[in-house]
Subunit: 246 residues, 2 copies
Amino acid sequence: MTTPEITAALLIIGDEILSGRTKDKNIGTLADSLTAIGIRLREVRIIGDEEDAIVEAVNTLRETHTYVFTTGGIGPTHDDITADSLAKAFGVSIDVNPTVAEEMEKVYAQRGVEMTPARLRMARIPDGAELVRNSVSIAPGFVLGNVIVMAGVPSIMAAMFSDVAPRLKRGAKLYSETLMVRRPEADISDLFAAHQKMYPDVIMGSYPSFLDGKFKTELVLRATNEQNLKKVVAELRAKLVEKALI
Amino acid sequence: MTTPEITAALLIIGDEILSGRTKDKNIGTLADSLTAIGIRLREVRIIGDEEDAIVEAVNTLRETHTYVFTTGGIGPTHDDITADSLAKAFGVSIDVNPTVAEEMEKVYAQRGVEMTPARLRMARIPDGAELVRNSVSIAPGFVLGNVIVMAGVPSIMAAMFSDVAPRLKRGAKLYSETLMVRRPEADISDLFAAHQKMYPDVIMGSYPSFLDGKFKTELVLRATNEQNLKKVVAELRAKLVEKALI
């Protein structure tokens, strides 16, 4: 465990994920990215494009986590209501941000694209928010309080996360070691539970899988102290070898 | 919209998803399966292996949805606490289910596998629960009240869903039609929003993507009345053709 622990929640906004039409790719990417910089993702929620649900989820999650990341709902269409819902959740006003609108107009003029009312929707930024840029599209995300609002398209989400990452507080990095056991989980679980009891500071999880009629189990140990982690893993391996389990 | 609407929430339990170590595959599968039988998935939550978090999430979600599906945390290891947490959430007792234990012993004996205390953990079923079988492993899931508890391993989860699906109430099937537009979302969003306003009973969403430097947008229309849906889609297509957008 890191002290002080920096925690995060992820809120995915979009009917298309809930209907199965779009398969989410952002959870896995963001989980990896956050773990890598010592921020512990503690909760994910996926909700539809409904203002009340967004306001409630944002207000619940921002109270209990260092950061809340949202993806989705910041495009130009009628169902893109994330920015307006965020303004409502924080009780701040929202309007077209003149700096953003000007930049968008410049880029669109270069491309010979018209600045429509729909496009101008993407320049709506809540009062007091900081912009989050990305290298893929001109429309920005934003940071409002401890909430980071990003696009749902995975390449744009990843670019926005890269822009915002240097501004985030980071926790102690969590090191991770994996032992692979070619046995069903139940063969090793008593031994593994006893090892967890001996070393409560090391986070231990066991992850079974079943492929081509064979069970295997990955034992994952994680800790902020790399040297101690290696010692605890070596001891576990020795116990497994002794019982001919590995 | 279906009347009466049958709704569901999905609760995914497991530190490994939040750390990024395991990439979830169950959300997409279950979203597709539920949509196919007219059950509307309205919310997904992913939480860690923590009893308080599980109890709170289960009790919140089961009040507001027809069904709650859980995945993960029903294996034999120390971090598999879903069954005990469910018993706590419902205020019922939990113990080794003699029928399940007997079946497991029989199967393990055939395989020459020992019945360890760890394996016996998988026979812990809350009082009053109905079993959910699967064709992959002997350890069952269960239905307690309106909560369906399934394994996290995707092949076992899918097999458990197949077993439980015939027992579920179903809503009216939602038909879906997609129009592909090779343009950025903003080019069509004013027209699309106006169309949504004309036909509020049809659920309309637009899903942009960005690949190899090209934007494209899929317009998805969904409704329980197939004939009406086809009419509304044809009209939208005609409008797009008229403006040379498709």
